[in-house]
Amino acid sequence: MDAERWERVQSLFHAAADRPEPERLPFLRTATNNDEALMADVLALFEEEQRGPSLLDRDVAQVAGQIIGRAATTELPFREFGPYRVREMLGEGGMGVVYLAERQDLSSLVAIKILRDAWLSPARRERFANEQRTLAQLNHPSIARLYDADTLPDGTPWFVMEYVDGLPLTEYCSRHNCTVEERLKLFRAVSEAVQYAHENTVIHRDLKPSNILVKGDGSVRLLDFGIAKQLDPLGMSMDQTRTGMRLMTPAYAAPEQMRGDRVGVQTDVYSLGVILYEMLAGRLPFDISNKTLVDAAMTITTEAPAKPSTAARETASQKGTRALALSTAAWADLDVLCLTAMHKDSKRRYQSVEAVLRDIDHYLKGQPLEARPDSLLYTTGKFMRRNWRAVSAAAVIIALSAGLAVVVGLVVTRGPSNKVAPVKPRGRTVAVLPFQNGGSDHSLDFLSLALADEIATTLSHTRSLSVRPFATTSKYIQADLDLQKAGREMGAASIVTGRFVRSGQQVQITLEAVDVESNRSLWRGTVNVPAENMIEMQGQLAARTRGALAPVLGSPESAVDTTPKPKNEEAYDLFLRSTAVSHDPEPARQAIAMLERAVGLDPTYAPAWFSLARRYYEIDHFAKGSHGKIERYNAAMARAASLDPNSIATGAQLVTGRVEQGELTQAYQQAVDLVRRHPDSVDVHFTLSYVLRYAGLLDESAKECNQAFMLDAQTQTAGVRSCAVVFILNGDHRRAMDFVNLDLGSEWATGLTIDVLLRQGKVAEASQLGSDHTPEWGGYDMLLAYLQRKPSPEIARLARTVRAGDDPEVNYFSAAHLAYCGQPSAALEMLKQVIQGSYCSYPAIESDPMLASLRNQPGFAEVRTAAMACRNNFLADRRR
């Protein structure tokens, strides 16, 4: 049959079908002009309709059920796996089937897991291999051990692990009628195993009682790392930092998992919270058994669970049993413990399993818990302050990972760039975009950022090129990017990008340079490098970049090679992989461990020192309870700066650190030196503005901000937006909003908008900005309560929650808000701390309308004098 005939057959069929049955045959005879063959084709269709249902009338579900839903036992093509002989099936899951087997020579029992339908996709094989690797890496008495692994002749992979003869956690508890203390001890053992996994950069992601078995001797074993995630190297693949596509067990899944957001160690903390809840209350926090996935997700992300104590009482009365015997005070503690672990906002949970363990221990010893309902406020305040810090400091950072923007929760939306005439980039500006992994080996995904970073670093060491910060370029990650558009957005004259493919032991890297104006390819080149030798890779790539790429981009001299060179393979590999590690506190600690090892192995590689310093900086500022790393930060910065004195990023970071440690004079000298050496760098001008702002030289600071803004009309560089503060303080509100709007939609921007509006006297407008979208530092909740005319005891209560933090600039805002809300003594006290922290705040202290109520207070003169002295000291030092 051909298409034409098929058309014909169909039209005859439809025409005949419209007629009563007896008329069909005569109609067809006439219509086909007695063409028997054609008539037969049409009649065959009618005949087929009479026959009743065919495959097409069945549901694809039934078909699937018959073809792939068959019991796993009938699929096992082998009974012998090396020295193991399969006895029976233990269970099956989405990925594989687990069998009980006996090792014949030793007659010991083991569990064998095989990947079902291995042919299906490399992704599944990769995941299976990932579980195997994970188990091999974890060596802990409470984690099922890996013994052996191999592949069947047909390519099906399998591995052998410890056979655990035990009961699921919750079942064990109810069977043995465990006491609260026994339950908590079991839970503690489980948490220790999870903490151990975290220390080894593994997140389990599917913790639930059925994955936790308790043996007859009371010891626990954690099973099923099937969707566990490596925190570090593979983390760059977005699918893996997200929940992924496997159906996790919704009852124990954290809200961020249900939403498909990033997961971290706090995701496991949540699941542990649910498990503890179930162990204490005898039921799950939410009944989602009859819900669809969507409804379940809704419940988990929005509904508040009953307190475990309440749930326990209800369960007991429903079942006619007795709830666990506990005092009211003990229940109150366990309620807090459980609900802190299960907080819907991952930032408000225990930030690590270690913190959970500490509170379990506190409880068992009868000590007060670290988690308290009111400490939640503190935790978030701290978190929001991180945002602030990231906003003000990130400018001077050439953040190595795209992760940062996600971590600090900035919503980067395009600001008022249309109000400013775009400035033609000066010099030859180049943006290096992330590379695409063209192969299927996802263990190399980290290269997509690492290669781009490497090339950007090499290019930035050639004199005449201005390289866009990696924080800006790294978000352009998708494969089908419009390069011209991206180039224009970044104000780049040319774009460098490429792809890499692994084949065997080689990685082929294709580099391409594109001219943005003409959207034409300028140059294309290929480098073949060994996959296992990162130093070799770096060397060849750098040579090619300097020798061929840089000249094409307009760097005339094949400049002297000042690029830092890695010397130790392992150290360099650790460094590269660390760039892909998230900036969340826990992974950041892992990154620190990786980098500490890297600089230990190769103490001459400046970028590793710089990364290490950055990590200490972030963790010191951003993570709760990890102070005291400042010395290590300073030491690492010093090494980075002495090894690579030309790096803008290092210089800028050095300045930022000094400013925040109160060393304004030295910071200033360094910043001026940077500006002299790199007059076209946005980051450097911003860095100088930052020093001047802290010193109270607002006009000079504003000038540098304007300079930075002019150099980069898009001000993609994250921190430049914190210039808003300068303009708030010097009263240029319109200009302040230009910068605030660069971060439109973030809590930071909402907070600063309120500040601007109040200083303009637009009280009604300010009070309309929602309280649920303001930062939690700086006392914005007090400010809004005040604007909504809440009673004064309420304001006074909120005022007491406004505490001084590490960054004197944030404290200045707190002071202004306290003053505005009629809390003069608290405001003055806060201002003293501001000035002690070397945030000079003069002349703002005299001109800021929000401080008006303070100026007739008895203590004000003293504070004013201190502020002036701060600024004058700086000026005097500067003249010297």
Partner: protein
């Protein structure tokens, strides 16, 4: 650039299954679809065969799970369903092919059965393979109709969605479906 919600991001007759998705993304899609199918299959097995989770719900849930994945953010829901339908077809065909060859006793197929003999009807696998071949033939005769069958049967798209995807009226879909179903059923019975 594509935006979410764009209609007809794939030309109907384009049969490379997913323009704009790279291999790795397809890989993930296939894995996910496979697991969905297995879940579906398990539902069928464990309960009354007539009371099943239908493929529409299945594809919809798969979409919900994957929609936030960066690989698919730029994919419209309909486009996604179309891809999922193709994935299901390929999966079932590949599974049928492999199961079929196992049953005929491949080179190393030494079967173990513990407590359960395999007495499943073989016809289902043969039917799926024949349907696959017949659909290839139909694609040659009328690509739009082949896409219609794939979307409706394998992907569980309803008449309305199929019509939207293929840019034809619902009446056309219903009409085509009748003729095509009869023709395919005929082919299924005829073919080797």
């Amino acid at each position: 650039m594509r935006k979410r919600g764009d209609k007809n991001v794939i030309p109907v007759e384009s049969l490379p299954i997913a323009p704009g998705l790279d291999r790795a993304q397809l890989n993930h899609l296939f894995s996910a679809t496979y697991e969905e199918l297995r879940r579906l299959a398990a539902t069928v097995k464990s309960t009354d065969p007539s009371a099943t989770l239908n493929p529409t719900a299945l594809v919809h849930e798969a979409w919900l799970k994957m929609a936030s994945s960066p690989a698919f953010v730029s994919t419209s829901r309909l486009h996604f369903k179309r891809i999922a339908a193709r994935a299901m077809r390929q999966l079932l065909v590949e599974a049928a092919r492999r199961r079929g060859s196992q049953k005929r006793g491949g080179p190393q197929a030494v079967f173990v059965t513990f407590d359960e003999a395999f007495d499943q009807p073989v016809s289902c696998e043969r039917d799926v393979l024949k349907l696959d071949a017949a659909l290839d033939e139909l694609a040659r005769l009328n690509p739009r109709q082949a896409a219609m069958v794939e979307s409706r049967f394998f992907g569980g798209l309803d008449v309305n969605e199929t019509a939207e995807l293929l840019e034809v009226s619902e009446a056309t879909i219903l009409r085509d479906w009748r003729a095509v179903k009869a023709w395919l059923s005929h082919e299924l019975r005829q073919g080797g």
